[in-house]
Symmetry: C2
Subunit: 292 residues, 2 copies
DNA sequence: AATCTGTCTATTGTGGATAAAAGACAAATA
DNA sequence: TATTTGTCTTTTATCCACAATAGACAGATT
């Protein structure tokens, strides 16, 4: 196997949804645009649609013959890119316990366990190393530095520096900047979720990322924005494997966000700084509590 | 070719120097320790020494037969690791002109140009991407973001945040901390170079890195320390290809360092902050001046 | 008893091959 | 004229193979 055709499979599934809502499909370039893939892939999808008797395809005429059934879709396991699979598998190992700091990481073993070639694992580890959780010994193994208390403290220290700086930029943004609209949308989502917190508290994680990324982006500094990747991945997996008091924790964070958002809106740097500091402080506590 | 034997060649050259100063070589593990390589490599070196009639080797007896001649050494081009070669080649392309922002980077083309496989180039690009100068479009090319004025400003903004924070940690270090001794050594080097600035100004670059890295390390924060890699590589290549007024610039920076060092020694956070700020400000100006 | 050497195995670094995906260009169509 | 399609070429993502290097262990040596 050379390349996984996950791009094809994922686009195929998404294209089935487009198909379900129309009687004839648009042009190839248009479909490519909509699905975010090249025409080559679009044509492969159309070819397969034809084989599956989902459409007839003659040049510009792509007529829908029938509605897609559940088993027309590729199973979701097959649509994840290899990088995603490796990441998940690896994060489970190191965050969900059983991995002591100082442990050696073996490319070959990891590859075998995941059922993939070493090159992909290797590339993943190189990419992942910027998160500061592993370290390479050239010509030898990788070392797991572990998701420790020190790691969390170092991470949050930088996070606080960056977010305070970003919040200061945010309040200085002109009213015409699109960030204010996005901020309003995010604020509205907060109210929606809070109104039905018992059922929707799980949506917090995604909203949290969206909000903080918006703030970081206003720094207009690629290093600050890129650093948010680290925060993002840590909190993402952290939320996923640490569900104690999730409802209560999330409710509190939502309230803090609302205060923070209001402070940003005031254009008052001092107020924004205080609200930011307060929220980041409690976010840090939450993170630390989950580390033994 | 599977793996370059640069580790062997480099260790071989260094081992020749050990050999030049003794009449019989120490044990294999001891040599491995001294050279920073495994016993396997040490044994390969000893075997080659024997072939070259540099020593006789019988178990623990490794008797030196003759002094190494210049042509016993491997040429230096052969001792650089592939990663170093790729890095240099790539940095020359993007810093030494001819590379417009927005340009596409082609793995295959780069590999051919450097005379290496695509895997190595690819891994280099992944590692390098954390420096914020290039960006990946999955399933497609890389994009050169370029060594622009924005890049320099974003870089120095974060640098200033981090170094100010580190300097504040530094003044709080207990007198017993080894950093104070290293600081004294660095200070002494400054005086030495300044005393003979016309001949030795080129040594500044290395000393500069050593000094700032020491400061960053006192933050005890892996993200701050790791970030110094970016500063380091940028200034390293920048110094190399931009020699206008080098003597004068370096002399000024050395003076600023000395003031900065004295301020750190005073344990006065306020003074240290001022000295740090002053130096970083002029470092930024220097960097910006060299960008069109 | 501690260290060293001989031997063997396991893992990393790197080039090469190949399917998937992107993309270029000219002819066809509306 | 502006898109769209058919066809072809180029490039990336991935696996595999193999030499270089690291590392483990038992027996030899001091």
């Amino acid at each position: 196997m050379a390349k996984q055709n996950t791009v094809f499979k994922d686009a195929y599934n998404r294209c089935l949804k487009v198909l379900a809502e129309t009687s004839s499909l648009p042009s190839e370039p248009e479909l490519g645009q909509a699905l975010g893939v090249s025409r080559t892939t679009v044509r492969a999808i159309l070819g397969r649609f034809e084989e599956a008797k989902l459409i007839t395809w003659d040049k510009r005429k792509k007529i829908v013959l029938r509605q897609p059934q559940p088993d027309d879709y590729f199973p979701t396991e097959e649509t994840d890119s290899l990088a995603e699979i490796i990441e998940r598998s690896f994060m489970r190992r190191i965050l969900a316990g059983g991995a002591e700091p100082g442990m050696q990481i073996n490319e070959l073993e990891l590859a075998r366990e995941i059922g993939t070639g070493t090159t992909s694992v290797r590339e993943f580890l190189i990419r992942f190393s910027r998160f500061g959780l592993i370290e390479k010994r050239p010509n030898s193994h990788w070392i797991l530095k572990g998701f420790t208390r020190e790691f969390a403290l170092e991470l949050t220290e930088v996070r606080e520096m960056f977010e305070l700086r970003s919040a200061a930029s945010f309040v200085a943004l002109p009213d015409s900047h699109s960030a204010w609209q996005e901020l309003s949308r995010i604020e509205a989502m907060h109210h929606e979720i809070l109104a039905d917190i018992d059922n929707r508290y799980k949506e917090f994680s995604e909203l949290d990322e969206r909000f903080h990324l918006l703030v970081h982006k206003s720094s207009s500094n690629r290093f600050i924005v890129d650093f948010y990747d680290i925060i993002s991945i840590v909190f993402h997996y952290h939320y996923q494997w640490n569900k104690t008091n999730a409802r209560q924790r999330n409710a509190r964070a939502l309230e803090e966000h609302l205060a923070y958002i209001e402070a940003l809106r005031s254009h008052d740097a001092k107020r924004a700084e205080e609200a930011c500091r307060r929220h980041l402080h409690s976010a840090r506590e939450t993170l630390l509590q989950s580390i033994p």
